[in-house]
Amino acid sequence: MTDFLKATAVVKRYGGIVALGRADLSARAGEVHALLGENGAGKSTFIQILAGAVRADSGTITLAGEAYRPKNPEAAQAAGVAAVFQELSLIPDLTVAENVWFRHEPLSPLGTVRAATLNAATAELFARYRFPDIRPDREVRRLTLAERQVVEIGKALSRNPRVLILDEATSALPPAETEWLLGLARSVAAAGTLVIYISHRLGEVRAIADRITVFRNGETVAAYETQAVDDETIIADMLGRRMDRLYPPRVATATDRVALGLRGFGAGSKLSGIDLDLKEGEVLGVAGLQGHGQRELFQALFGLGRAEGSVALWGQPRDIRSPRAALSGRDGLALVPEDRRSHGLMLAKSIRENLTLSVVRRFTRFGLTDPTREQALVEEMIRTLRIKADSPEQPAGTLSGGNQQKVIFGKMLLTEARILLLYDPTRGIDVGTKGEIFTLMRRLAAEGYAILFYSSDLAELVHVADRVAVLRNGRLAAVLEGDDNSEHGILRAAMIERAAA
């Protein structure tokens, strides 16, 4: 069978950073073709080129035997390429139906778009592909993230694409909808469409992909039939030679000194009666089912929102009513927030500005900033954290997810706070960077930092934390250590009430 889509030696640079060094891909019509690779491997750049959102510097792409070089998303859509981006392309103030048919709306004789026609067409489209129930006339800004993801898929399908690109399309979906989407991808491919499927979840890829292409560091490193390859090979190809262990050895470094002491700590109705001691040199994990008070715990500790009960830092009682009060230097607290794109970073600002924003006083003398001293601090952080960037002046928004997270870590470390609150710090980050972050956490603990660490991935808590505090319904259900600190143990503590009920 001939290749329907063939990309050869596609290159894209941003300034001095090579996003794509040499991307190759051959895919057939009617197959599900998975693209795998760590974050920053170039998958996103490659599909943005396919979708016309970014133009390649060099290389050739052919689609159905013809040269394909879309100059904008409109041209890509006209050629039959529709993409569901990780960064959603929906318009919040338009309705579901208006979004689905945006730019190719069926028109009345007066050249207008009739809401009734649009809603009916959407309902029909949704029924054809057995979509979850979403009303076509709702405004998209009123939908949940999962619903938006589903609408985005409908939008791509409404164009009857020859190539359908799904970029991490299941990342926001609950299990039932994930199943649905996997089935949908298979049936769309069975009807002759090429489905390019990008996911970090190897299980999904195994379930639906006919073939797999692996990217690493901006280059295509392997391509195979799914059936002819095992998971070990795929992972080895994704990581390359950097096969060091994900989890660093855990050496107990906790002392008896209490860094953060909580008594009767609570926050509104979501969290109450927490008694907990975080020790110097300790990584204390926090676990719980979604919505059982973990977020409130971290926010209240950092002075966001109401808090009750008593907090002592390094033995001193403290009343923390604002982040400013929390960030009090060596005796204070620093937080890595959950949503780095909207809370942690100013994407348009440079790495340097992001790193030093909260610590301007550290290099200020007589009311003037000292650029030499600032530069030294920034370079030290970039070096320690191995932030991969062109220069400190590069905008934070142009970094990969993992590198953005490192900038946030750097920002937090520069505050000199020795109690660190890490809220899901590895979410959406590639395996390599995850390993680096865990190593860093253990190193900091060994240096005497005290770390409170929440993760939605239980394995991380089990392997990185010394002890794990499990929350259930806003209360402390258990503190697990030693052999009890296992995925099984955590889940049981987090769910036991449900099981009994």
């Binding site: 959102a53 998303p73 409109e74 859509q77 103030d93 009739r114 979850p132 009123r142 979604q290 889940l491």
Partner: protein
Amino acid sequence: MTMLAADSRERRAMPGLSPSLKATLTDRAPILIPVAMLILLVAIYASLREGVFTLDELNLDTAAALTLVLAATGQTIVLLRGGIDLSIGGTISLGTVLAATQFRDDPAHVALWTVLILVIGALVGVVNGVLITALRLQPFLVTLATWSILSGTALIILPIDGGGLPSFWMAFGSRNWLGLSSAVWLLAVLVLFWLWFRRTRLGIAIRATGSNERSAFLSGVSPLGINVATYALSSLFAALAALYLTTQTGAGSPTIGKDYILPSVAAAVIGGISLFGGRGGLIGTIIGAYILTIIGNLVFVLSISSYWQPIVSGVILLIAVLASSIAERSARRSLT
């Protein structure tokens, strides 16, 4: 293993929330608030003066409001796009001086120059749109610059207020059909235009781009195309405002346009248009323009100093902005 275990299932379910009355009210707050304010102001006005609820009053108020309504129509389109157009002040001034200096007492000649003024107006917008897109400049600064250039041009053509307009031209401004003035009829045409325009692909794309520029681009909206269309429409409406204004004043003025720049924004914002783009409609803007006009009437009827007019307008503007932001916040809270 991730923590999205069983209990997160029900909260992630996808129900179609049946809209309660409260949700509907907060949803419609941006338009209900100006409607309520207009009713209140008209009620106060009617208590101070006889004959407020007559066709005469409607004809007069509409004639007084229409220039602002037309200018604010263009501004509304730009605000929906998420931009702002200060140059309409220059376009209006230039339009009036061109009409005052070029119109002769000959309908064919007037028709020709009417078309030319509209074309010049649209070209101003094309230039704005190209500058904003191609040079990636702030709309505020680009249109501030073009406003200045156009104002200077108007002053060169006609240094002081004056010039003359054909009598049939001014007669049009004061004519009535079926008891309704030309202004009321023009307003009706404008509303029909809007009801059509907001449902066209261009209308939707303008609103969409204001709502989320990046998403609109990814969906295939051309940044240059949308900016040129948006600013050209704005300038075109400014030129229409200028032409209508000359039927009322009977003269050209190289400085009159600046009186419409900020009131056009105020009318739109009072009428519920978000300065962040994407939300609101022309009906709100028209109500906003009437509110500003009635405030002028009230100040006149109360025979207090006309300096009170901008003060009251400012307070009304603050109330409108505050009320819709409270509604917006409570809507967001009811969602989570």
